[in-house]
C-alpha cells in the first residue's frame, strides 16, 4: 500500500538517519510508525519494562536517565531513544520522561531490527555505543581529503637505490646517473647486519650535493670511498607516517632527503621536492619567512601570515594533527629566530643552554589562541652571579618578542624570564624527581605543564634526558600517578546540548562552552596520565595514545575512541577559530551552541560521552593505594 501519512514521511525524511535511507525503505518505515502523546512530566519508559519500539521525538522534549536516576541525555525534535534496550535484551535500559508536552513516533521493534541489520549506514548511526558514530564521522572525513592525510609511502615512486660503503665516489656518480636518482643509500654488508644477512644495514646517504660540496669542492680524488663523503646518523621516516610529518622532519633536521623504512627495511627515498610538489606550501612559506626576518618588528608583521596559513589549512580539510603540528613548528621557528637574534645582540652564551617549549607547543597541538609557555635549562657550570644577567636578558628578548608575535605572556608565569624556570640541568632533574617522588595535588597543578616538554634550541638532548627521567620514574610512582589523575579530573565535559544551550550533567544550562577547558585540555590531561603510567616518552597526544594502546591498559577499543574524540573536539575548536578569523573577530575557544550544526552537536555529545567515561575509568584505575 502506498504511504499516505505524509506528515510522518516528510518528518522522517527531514531528519537523520532516515534522510539517508533509500526511498522505498523510508516509505516502509513511515508506514510502520505509530504515535503516542505524553503530557509534560509523565513517564515514558521505566527501567526493565519490555522494549517494544524505537522512539523518535516528533515534538516536545524528553529526558533520558541512567538506571541510577542521573541525567543521561535530553532530546528534542528529531532526537531518538530506546535503541539500547532493543539491541540488547529487549528490556528498557534507560528510563525516559517527557519534560514538555511531547509527541512521539514509535517504530516497532521488528521494523527497527530489520533496518538495523540490513542497513549498515543506519546501524552505524544509531549504534549502541555512541563512539562508533564518531568513528564513522571521522573516517568519512578522511576519505574526503585523502591528499592531506596521505602516508609517506604514497610518495615513494621507486625502490631504494643502494650502494656498498666500500664503493668509490666515482662508482656512486655513475650509479646515480644510470639510475637517474639524486641520492643513494649507503649500505654495510658487514657482521653488524642482521643475523640472516638478507637485509643490508643502511649506514648513510649520499646526495648530489655531497658529491659537489664534500668531494669536488674539497679536491678529493674520485676513488675516495663513499663512506668518507656520505651523511651518517641517518634521519628516516616510517612508511606509514603522514607526508606532513616527513615534511616537518626535513625542516627540523635541515635535510632534503629522507629514507623511508618499513619494518627497518629501506623502501625508498623521498626528497623535499617530492613533498613540495605534493603538499600545500603554506606552512613551509611561513617558516621560511620567519627565518628571513631580521628584527622583532619584522617577525611581528608575520602574524597575519600565520593566521592565513591556519585558515587555509582548515579550508583544505587538514586534520587537527597536521594543523597542531604546523602551528607548533611555526611557533618553534619564531622562538628559534628570536634566539638567533638575541644571541646576535648579546653575543654567544657564556655556558651552553637549552630553550624549552612546554604545553601545547611541546605536544605539537598548538592553535591560534595560545600562551607562550617556556623555560631555560642551563649547563651545570652555570654561575648565577656571572651568567644570569645574560640569560635573563636572553629570556626577556624571546618572551617579549613572542608576545609581539601573538603568543601572549603566560599568566601562570611559566616563562624563561621567571628565575625559577631558568635553572641548571641538575636543578631541573631535582624538580622532576621531587614532583614525582613527593607529589602533592596542588604542587602538580602548577607543574603539570612541565610534563609536556620539548627542546627547541641549543642542547636539546637535555630535554630528551629529562623526558627519559620522567618516563622512568613516573611509572614507578603510584602516588604521583594518582595525583596527576586527580588533577586530570578537575575539568569535566558537559553532558551535551539542548536547544541552543550547553547542558551540564546536573541539567543546568549555559550559553557557551569553552572547547579547550571542557574538551581538548581534559582529554590531553587524561592521555598524559596514561602515557606516564606506561612510560611513554611521546609528546603528542595521538602518539601517546598509540603507546597506551600498545601497552594494553585500556578496555578494548577505548584508545581509538579517545583518539576520535580528541580529533573531533579539536576540529570543532579549530573550525570555529577559523570562522572567527574569517569574520574578522578575534578568535577564542568559546563556542555558542547556536553556531553548531545539528551534526556537530550530535558528534560532540558522543565525544563528551567518551571523555566522561574515560575520566571515570581514570579515577578508578589510579586510585591512591591501588597497585597498577
Amino acid at each position: 500500500m502506498q504511504v499516505e501519512q505524509l506528515e510522518i514521511l516528510d518528518f522522517l525524511r527531514a531528519h537523520a538517519p532516515f534522510g539517508e535511507l533509500p526511498e522505498d525503505t523510508l516509505q516502509r518505515v513511515a508506514a510502520a510508525v505509530d504515535v503516542r502523546y505524553f503530557k509534560a512530566g509523565s513517564r515514558i519508559l521505566e527501567f526493565g519494562q519490555a522494549a517494544e519500539a524505537w522512539f523518535v521525538v516528533r515534538s516536545g522534549a524528553v529526558e533520558i536517565y541512567r538506571r541510577n536516576g542521573t541525567l543521561y541525555n535530553r532530546l528534542t525534535e528529531g532526537g531518538y531513544f530506546g535503541e539500547f534496550g532493543l539491541l540488547r535484551n529487549k528490556r528498557v535500559r534507560f528510563p525516559a520522561a517527557a519534560i514538555e508536552d511531547t509527541l512521539l513516533y514509535l517504530i516497532p521493534e521488528p521494523v527497527f531490527t530489520e533496518l538495523f541489520e540490513s542497513n549498515e549506514q543506519f546501524a552505524d548511526y544509531v549504534e549502541i555505543e555512541d563512539r562508533s558514530r564518531l568513528r564513522q564521522v571521522l573516517s568519512r572525513r578522511e576519505d574526503a581529503n585523502q591528499l592531506m592525510t596521505a602516508k609517506v609511502d604514497t610518495l615513494v615512486s621507486r625502490a631504494a637505490v643502494m650502494l656498498d660503503r666500500e664503493a668509490s665516489a666515482a662508482d656512486a656518480a655513475r650509479h646515480m646517473t644510470a639510475e637517474g636518482v639524486s641520492s643513494l643509500l649507503i649500505t654495510a654488508g658487514d657482521d653488524e647486519g642482521e643475523p640472516d644477512g638478507a637485509v643490508p644495514r643502511i649506514v648513510g646517504i649520499i646526495t648530489d650535493r655531497d658529491l659537489r660540496t664534500r668531494l669536488l669542492a674539497e679536491g678529493l680524488p674520485y676513488d675516495t670511498a663513499v663512506s668518507e663523503i656520505m651523511s651518517a646518523g641517518l634521519v628516516t621516516v616510517e612508511h606509514n607516517q603522514l607526508v606532513f610529518e616527513a615534511m616537518l622532519r626535513m625542516l627540523r633536521n635541515n635535510v632534503h632527503h629522507l629514507p623511508v623504512l618499513r619494518h627497518g627495511r629501506p623502501l625508498g627515498v623521498i626528497a623535499l621536492s617530492d613533498i613540495i610538489h605534493y603538499e600545500s606550501r603554506n606552512s613551509l612559506f611561513v617558516v621560511g619567512n620567519i627565518f628571513r626576518q631580521s628584527s622583532v618588528d619584522d617577525l611581528a608583521a608575520l602574524t597575519g601570515d600565520v593566521r592565513a596559513c591556519f585558515t587555509r589549512m582548515v579550508g583544505e580539510d587538514a586534520n587537527s594533527r597536521m594543523i597542531g603540528a604546523a602551528m607548533a613548528v611555526i611557533g618553534r621557528s619564531f622562538k628559534q629566530r628570536l634566539l638567533e637574534l638575541a644571541e646576535a645582540e648579546l653575543g654567544p652564551p657564556p655556558v651552553p643552554y637549552c630553550f624549552l617549549a612546554l604545553g601545547s607547543m611541546a605536544r605539537q597541538e598548538q592553535l591560534i589562541v595560545t600562551d607562550q609557555d617556556n623555560a631555560l635549562i642551563l649547563d651545570n657550570s652555570f654561575d648565577p652571579a656571572r651568567h644570569d644577567d645574560y640569560f635573563k636578558a636572553l629570556a626577556t628578548i624571546v618572551c617579549d618578542g613572542l608576545a609581539r608575535c601573538g603568543y601572549s605572556y603566560c599568566t601562570g608565569g611559566v616563562m624563561a624570564t621567571n628565575p625559577k624556570w631558568r635553572q641548571p640541568l641538575r636543578v631541573w632533574e631535582g624538580y622532576f624527581t621531587d614532583w614525582i617522588e613527593r607529589p602533592t595535588p596542588q604542587g602538580l597543578l602548577d607543574s603539570g605543564i612541565f610534563f609536556d616538554l620539548d627542546g627547541v634550541w641549543g642542547e636539546t638532548g637535555w630535554a630528551d634526558g629529562l623526558r627519559r627521567l620522567v618516563a622512568r620514574k613516573a611509572k614507578a610512582s603510584p602516588r604521583f600517578l594518582a595525583c596527576m589523575a586527580r588533577n586530570a579530573l578537575l575539568r569535566t565535559p558537559p553532558l551535551g546540548f539542548f536547544k541552543d544551550f550547553v547542558m551540564e550533567s546536573d541539567g543546568r544550562h549555559t550559553n557557551t562552552i569553552n572547547m579547550k577547558r571542557r574538551g581538548t585540555a581534559p582529554l590531553a590531561d587524561l592521555v598524559r596520565v596514561h602515557a606516564l603510567a606506561v612510560g611513554s616518552r611521546a609528546r603528542n597526544s595521538f602518539e601517546r595514545l598509540r603507546d597506551i594502546i600498545d601497552a594494553d591498559i585500556l578496555p578494548r577499543g577505548r584508545g581509538q575512541d579517545l583518539h576520535d574524540a580528541l580529533e573531533f573536539i579539536s576540529m570543532v575548536r579549530i573550525r570555529h577559530q577559523a570562522e572567527d578569523l574569517a569574520a574578522g573577530r578575534e578568535p577564542d575557544n568559546s563556542i555558542e551552541p547556536e553556531n553548531l550544526s545539528e551534526f556537530e552537536r550530535k558528534s560532540l555529545r558522543d565525544a563528551f560521552q567518551i571523555l566522561a567515561n574515560a575520566q571515570s575509568f581514570l579515577k578508578y584505575r589510579y586510585q591512591p593505594g591501588r597497585a597498577n
Binding site: L6, E7, I8, D34, V35, R36, Y37, K39, E100, D101
Partner: protein, 252 residues
Amino acid sequence: MLHLGPLKDVQGEAGEDDVHAVPDWPARFAELAASARDARLRAFYAAGLPAGDTPLGEVPMVALDVETTGLDPRRDEIVSVGVVPMDLERIRSSASRHWVVRPRRVLDAESVTLHGITHSQVAAAPDLGEVLGELLDALAGRIVVVHCRAIERGFLAAALRERIGEALAFAAIDTMELEARVHRQRKRGWWARLFDRSPQLSIRLADARARYGLPRYRPHHALSDALATAELLQAQVAHRYTVDTPLAELWR
C-alpha cells in the same frame, strides 16, 4: 475536514446531537442492528460498542476525517475518507486507511485546491458505495473520534441515505466539543461582550493542537487530519481527563 465559515445547517442532519439527549449507544446499536436492512450496516451495528461506564483507557477508538467538496451535506459530497485506529496507549497510524472516492456531482476548482485531490484522481476513484463495507469494518466496535462531529455525521449520513436509503449513526468523541467545553463554557454576558476585548480562543483543529504543544500539520488531507485529531484527543485526555474517566462523559 473543512470548516471555513459558519456551518450551513449541518446540525439539523443529526437530530441526536441535542446535548440533553446523549443516547445509550450500546442499546441504540442493538436496536439499529435489528432494524437495518443493508447487510454491511447490520454487521456494523451488530459489532456493538463498549458500555458507557467503560474507563477511557480500555476503549477502542478510531479517528475519522472526511474531505468534502463544500460545507453543505445536502449539496456537497465526500471526496476522501481517512481513518486511524487508536486507543489511549497508541495511535495505530500503521493501520490507518485512506480512500479517495468519486463524488456524483462535479468538483469545483476551489475545493480541488484545498485538499489537493485532482480531477484525474477522482475520476479513477470508486464510488463511496463500493468501499462502504471496508469503511464500516474499520469503524466497527470502536468509538469514532472526530473534530466537529456534525461534518462527519452529516456527510456520511447523507451519502448512505443516497446510496442505500438508510442513514448512518455512530458514537463519537468530538475533540472540538471537548475544546469548547473548556473555552466556551460560559456564555459571555453583555458586560463581557462590551468590555472584554480578549478574543475568544479558537477551537479549530490547528489552534487547539498548538495549545497542547502538538506540531503544525498541513490541513485538508483526510488522513493527516484524522491523525491530527487522534493526537489531539490523547493530549486532551492527558491534560483534562484520566484513563479511568468513564466513556459516557465524552461520547455524544
